[in-house]
Amino acid sequence: MTPHTMSNTQAVTASKGAWANITADWSSDQRAFKNVPWGKAMMWVFLLSDTFIFSCFLISYMTVRVSTVVPWPNPSEVFALSFGGEPIPLILIAIMTFILITSSGTMVLAVNYGYRKDRAKTAILLLITAAFGATFVGMQAFEWTKLIVEEGVRPWGNPMGAAQFGSTFFMITGFHGFHVSVGVIFLVIVARKVWRGDFDNETRGFFTSRKGNYEIVETMGLYWHFVDLVWVFIFAFFYLW
C-alpha cells in the first residue's frame, strides 16, 4: 500500500519466484517478452548491439591511452572555452551534457502524453526534443571546427601530445553525433505522424503498411535515451578521465 512497497518486481513475482518466471517466459512459445510490443523488444535488441559497438570504441580508446608513452592531452584544457575572461574548463561539454539531459526529460514527457493520446502536447514535446538534439549536434560541429582549425587536431596527430587523441576523439564523438543526428530525423518523422493524427486514425505507414500507435513514441524514446546514456559514458571516460 505504501509507496515503498511498490517495487519493480511487484507484478512479476507475485506468485512464482523470479527465476521460475524468467524460465516460464523464455520457454513459452512465440513470445518471450510478454507485455512488450515487438517493436519495442526489437529496439531493445538493437540498443544492446549498439552497446557493444560503443563498448568496442571506448575499450579501444582505453587500450591506446594506456599503452601510449607520449603524454595524453589534458581534455580539461583542450575543451576549455573563454568568454572574454579566464578560460572555463570543459564548459562547452558541460552545456552539451545539460542539453542532452533536458532533451531526455522532454522525451519522457512526450511518451507520457502520447499514451494519454494528447496529440498536440506529444508532437510539440517531440519537436522540442528534436530542437535540443539539433542544438547538441550544432555545438558538436562548433567543437570539432575549433579543434580542427584552431588547435590543429588531426586523426593522425596533434600539437598537444599523443597522436591517438585525435583518432579516438573523432571516432567516438563522431559516431555519437551521427546517432544524435539520426535521432533528430527520427523524432521529426514521429512528431509529424503524431501531429497528423496517424496514431489516432490508425493510418497505415508509408513503408510498412502497418497501423501505427503511440507505442512508437515510446520506442523512439528508448533510442533517444540510449543516445543520452552513451553520452554519459563518453563524458565520463573521454572528457573527465
Partner: protein
Amino acid sequence: MTNSDDHVEGQQHPLGIYFKIWALLFVLSACSYMVDYYHLEGYLRWTLIIVFMLLKAGLIIAVFMHMMWERLALLYAMAVPPIVVLVFIALMSIESDYTFTTREFFFALGS
C-alpha cells in the same frame, strides 16, 4: 490478458517520478562537472567519475527507459550480455599494460 491489453496499455506512470529523476540527473551531471572544475586528482577523481556515471546510467535505464517496470525476462536479456564487456575490458587492460611496458623497455634501449 497478455495478448490483448499490451496494445492498449503502455508504460504509463505519474509525471512526478520523471520530474524527480530529471532533477536528480541535473544534480549528478553538475556533480561530475564539479569533479573536473575543482581539479580533483587520483583515485578520488576516478571513483567519483565512475560513481556519478553509474548513477546517471542506472537512473536513465531504470526510469526513463522504464526498465524497472518491465518483466525480468526482458531485463535479464538486456542486462546480462553486457557483462561480457567487462571481461573484454579486463583483457584489454592487461594487454595494453603489457604493450606499455614493452614500449617503455624498447624505447629506453633506444632501438
